[in-house]
Subunit: 338 residues, 2 copies
């Protein structure tokens, strides 16, 4: 396959169609004025030659690349990957395209990757990274990008913040535990101290207190299956063993469930009620059958993308810059008396 001269340019299309280059350009610009007959000739020539608008050049002129940058850590995690999927799908629907930046490595490579993204003049960035790297957000904003923050609560100007009703959800699960007759409550958290995780924790503790109940809170590691197992060790070896655990995340819940059953030989939900958060695929697998809260992934993606598509003036955008979505409780078998 020869290297040089692979792509067709608008000029060649114009020559073949017998029109000017501008006509070709206008044909592929929605809303531009071009006569039906001219358009037909251009489209025909373009098709024959295999012409594709050069988005690099167009972005250069329009000062609008059509690229949206997804900045994400732990992207192989079930929840994150389903969010990425929904976002890319929605972006494609609106004619934009997703660029993926992995921020797992905490060394300079993150910064490097981000700078790389800025070089491409992305129109916007969507941050679904748990890391509280405020500097990342700053850099994006300073580059004139629009910014969407998912499950974070940085207080930035001109950004869209999407969050769930984590506190209220925590209250609802408490009610369920109480109704199931649980008395010794626990909350299993990672110690990442992400805003959303802490909201669930605080919401749960507060709701319990309102019922005159105390909560044992344990925090450990990242939000992983393995952390869940360790949290189970910490919680289930106590002299007064909890009979209900709300896990900040489904992954934690899965680890905790496995440890409870296989290491401590407990039955769920008879000996122990468990709830999680995210409604990842595995929560519905029959080994877990976990009662949990569903992340409205599609709604989040839709909200983010349509905000990006909006050509609102800054003032309006400002006032609409925060969205709270509802996390629906999904009843399964890990809490008594559904």
């Amino acid at each position: 396959m020869a290297q040089g001269k692979i792509y067709v340019s608008a000029l060649e299309v114009a020559e073949r169609a017998g029109v000017s280059r501008s006509a070709v350009s206008r044909t592929f610009t929605p809303g531009a004025s071009v006569a039906p007959e001219t358009r037909r000739k251009v489209v025909e020539a373009a098709e024959a030659l295999g012409y594709h608008v050069n988005q690099l050049a167009r972005g250069l002129m329009r000062n609008e690349s059509g690229i949206v940058c997804l900045i994400v850590s732990d992207m192989a995690t079930p929840y994150r990957s389903s969010l990425i999927k929904a976002l890319t799908q929605q972006l494609q629907n609106t004619g934009k395209i997703a660029m993926l930046v992995n921020t797992d490595r905490s060394d300079g490579s993150v910064d490097l990757a981000l700078r790389q993204a800025i070089r491409y003049r992305a129109d916007a960035s969507i941050i679904l990274s748990g890391l509280p790297d405020k500097s990342i957000a700053d850099l994006c904003l300073k580059s004139g990008q629009r910014l969407v923050l998912i499950n974070r609560n940085d207080d930035q100007e001109g950004t869209l913040k999407i969050n769930l009703d984590d506190r209220e959800a925590a209250g609802r699960v408490l009610t369920a535990f109480v109704r199931a007759g649980c008395e010794r409550l626990a909350f299993a958290n990672s110690d990442a101290r992400t805003p959303s995780l802490m909201a669930r924790e605080d919401g749960f503790v507060d709701a319990a207190r309102a019922h005159g109940l105390d909560v044992i809170v344990e925090r450990f590691g990242g939000t992983t299956y393995e952390s869940g197992k360790i949290l189970a060790q910490k919680l289930l070896t106590r002299s007064l063993r909890p009979d209900a655990v709300f896990c900040a995340t489904d992954l934690l819940a899965c680890g905790l469930l496995d440890a409870a059953r296989h290491q401590f030989s407990l039955s769920v939900p008879e000996d122990l009620c468990v709830a999680g958060f995210d409604d990842i695929q595995q929560a519905s697998w029959s080994s877990y059958d976990l009662t949990t809260f569903s992340q409205p992934v599609e709604a989040i993606a839709l909200e983010a993308v349509s905000w990006l598509a909006d050509e609102m003036d800054p003032a309006v955008r400002q006032s609409h810059s925060s969205r709270r979505l509802h996390a629906e409780l999904v009843w399964r078998g890990s809490i008594r008396g559904g």
Copy 2:
């Protein structure tokens, strides 16, 4: 945040540094000739002004965008998402950036998204989509992109094909089953009939035949957990119940395991030996503890990205255009006598 005039151009940097614009350009072009003193002045000015090379313009000039397009279906799947993660990481390491194209929808939107990617003049595409859409590959190639196919065996010119030793792996798991004393073998497959899935099936059947054993083959649905459950129904309700099942995929295996235990009350590995393929996270969870083959995700990513980085001449590239990697058997508790 004002809309106009956000990005700094090389010209402004040049003016501030008191040099020509070319000097700025050369400073940020590796290997270009520029005096140390000039470079210092330029870097200083660039830093002060917050200058970032406009990759759109650079791509336009160099005819090389630095973008690599990841074309993927079922991206929220554990295996796929871990591969995406590895690939984006590797790409970032070599200064390239990943663009994500979701091909789940089988309507025209796929084609649209792909066309979108072509418009960005991606240097290469990596296809990890199970779909046998040969037209996609053709379109990429015709646009002069380099192409990497993972776990597919289309016979295209000038592409890199990365596969595993699926057949051999299947042989190894058969040996394990035989050594465990299993006699009634089965293979659980999706009916996607992807090359790699079929290679595992054929390899298993052939190896069994070499041992004078027959294999019950059952195919159903996509490679999902739910399909695994259904395959369990089909296999375990037989009059002569299999005592060993090789599942084409870990997801299938998880579904099959859950059904075997919870619906058929079988013990694994006592009543039934099970093996999977992919070594997804969940395979190591104690509810599954699945013996399986690990996908060398990092190695695959490394192979793909370094092939893309290579400036080999076409002839050499041609001869190196197919790589077979080794899938290592990961021993866990779902086969007797590890």
